[in-house]
């Protein structure tokens, strides 16, 4: 199928007073001769004759898609663009987060953390010892503890992996985790849809 696309100028009006209408078009004929006249409402034979005779192209009671003003178009483009940038940013952020988590030198500590000791870790940590009552761990990244936790752990990563630790005090992104639910061999703590979710990774005690 073949077709052509071009823009036309539309004059949108209605007939209120026939005399005035005809005299207006008579006076402004040079201006309107290339326009498409859209008339809403009643159209008498007299006016129709006049328009056909002149000749002026006209249609009656038709909804012409309205072109938006330049300003509106620009604003629309702008919001689209900023949304795109936002989206891009979010993806990049997530990616950066992930890659930094992955590369952020995972630390491995093979000691127990005794009462009164405080660990402040930037990045990820794999802890192979106990966290005794009275000990504190602050960690910006992900945490995996393979032994019992009885102290306080504050984590800000994507997830925490802890063993059976019903006596622990655990804050994940400053929200208290119900440690009585940490009863299986290995439990994963994460936030899904703004809720803390605990999943059993390894079953058994």
């Amino acid at each position: 199928m073949k077709g052509k696309q071009y823009s036309v100028k539309v004059y949108d009006t209605s007939v209120e007073d026939e005399e005035k209408f005809i005299s207006f078009f008579e006076a402004n004929f040079p201006l309107f001769k290339d326009h498409l006249i859209v008339i809403h409402g009643e159209l008498s034979d007299k006016v129709r004759d006049y328009l056909t005779r002149k000749p002026l192209t006209f249609v009656q009671d038709v909804d012409i898609p309205k072109a938006r003003s330049q300003k509106e178009v620009e604003m629309d483009l702008e919001t689209q663009k900023s949304a795109q940038i936002e989206h891009q940013k979010r993806i990049e952020e997530q990616f950066a987060k992930l890659s930094s988590r992955l590369e952020n030198n995972l630390r491995v500590i093979d000691n127990m953390i005794r009462s009164g000791q405080e660990l402040n870790i930037e990045g990820d940590l794999l802890l192979l010892g106990r966290v005794n009552s009275g000990a504190t761990i602050n960690i910006s990244g992900n945490l995996i503890v393979t032994h019992v936790i009885e102290g306080l752990v504050k984590g800000y990563g994507n997830f925490m992996m802890v063993s059976n630790s019903p006596k622990a005090t655990i804050l994940f992104h400053d929200r208290e985790v119900d440690s009585s639910a940490l009863v299986s061999k290995l439990n994963k703590i994460e936030i899904i849809d703004d809720e803390i979710v605990i999943t059993q990774v390894l079953k058994g005690e």
Binding site: R114, S115, G129, N132, S133, G134
Partner: protein, 270 residues
């Protein structure tokens, strides 16, 4: 060169001083030259438990400050020749201690004795830190209850960070003595059992001492319970002292409920 062993607990009142007195005497009974030093400056009572309170003329602080010589200040035990005692000052407070003085004193004692046992003050302040700073090993005394375990855990943490040996890249050996065990309560699950305590503290077990009413009377009289052959606590201390001297002694399960003839009989009618 003798070895320096600090007796620590973190929490007060768990039987640290009693353990020090009994183990010191126990080591001496094994024929080793031993000195017990009271580091609880300002609150000395090791002299009373050893029955030497009237004999204290010069104290540790005076030796460190050069006001008295070490032989002048050392007190020989009435019970056993091999045991000596160095008293804490009762008039000063722990702020008089400093690392240099403590180090010098311990070096002198190390030359004269096989075992130097230090009775640490309760708590984890400077007095405690000075006691453990130059120790080769530590005996941690705990009671089977959570507050004692937590305080001991904290004390071990400080030991692991402040000790000179650790700073030099070596390890301080840590041994656990569980004191005042009441077997019946452990059986009923009302008292922590030793497996739980060892799991939490993660150090080697040196011995278990049962609760024994005789300990109070023995302390009051200045005759350490280890001299009482019949006392269960005394026997336990004897075994621990022998282990410290490097001899292996079987560890009876004192947490099991005592089952005598009468017990068995009454048990049948339950």
């Amino acid at each position: 060169m003798g070895i320096v062993i600090a007796v620590i607990s973190g929490k007060g009142g768990v039987g640290k001083t009693t353990a020090t007195a009994n183990l010191g005497l126990g080591i001496a009974l094994n024929g080793e030259k031993c000195v017990v030093v009271d580091f609880d400056i300002g609150q000395r009572n090791l002299d009373m438990i050893l029955g030497l309170e009237n004999r204290v003329v010069y104290d540790m602080v005076q030796v460190m400050d050069g006001e008295a010589s070490l032989p002048q200040a050392l007190i020989k035990s009435k019970v056993n020749e091999s045991l000596s005692f160095l008293a804490a000052s009762q008039t000063k407070d722990k702020s008089v201690l400093n690392s240099e003085k403590v180090k010098k004193l311990l070096e002198e004692l190390r030359e004269k004795f096989d075992y130097v046992i230090l009775d640490a003050p309760a708590g984890i302040e400077s007095g405690y830190e000075h006691t453990i700073e130059f120790a080769d090993a530590a005996i941690i005394v705990v009671n089977p209850e959570v507050s004692s375990i937590r305080d001991a855990d904290r004390a071990i943490g400080i030991l692991d960070s402040k000790s000179q040996k650790v700073k030099d890249g070596e390890e301080v050996n840590k041994y656990l003595v569980i004191n005042r065990i009441i077997p019946q309560m452990v059986q009923n699950g009302e008292m922590l059992n030793s497996a739980d305590i060892l799991e939490i503290l993660n150090i080697k077990l040196l011995g278990k001492v049962p609760e024994d009413k005789g300990v109070i009377d023995a302390s009051n009289q200045g005759k350490p319970i280890i001299l009482d052959e019949k006392s269960l606590a005394g026997q336990a201390y004897k075994r621990i002292a022998t282990r410290i001297c490097g001899n292996s002694v079987p560890m009876p399960d004192i947490e099991a409920a005592p089952k005598g003839f009468m017990k068995k009989l009454t048990g049948m009618f339950k």
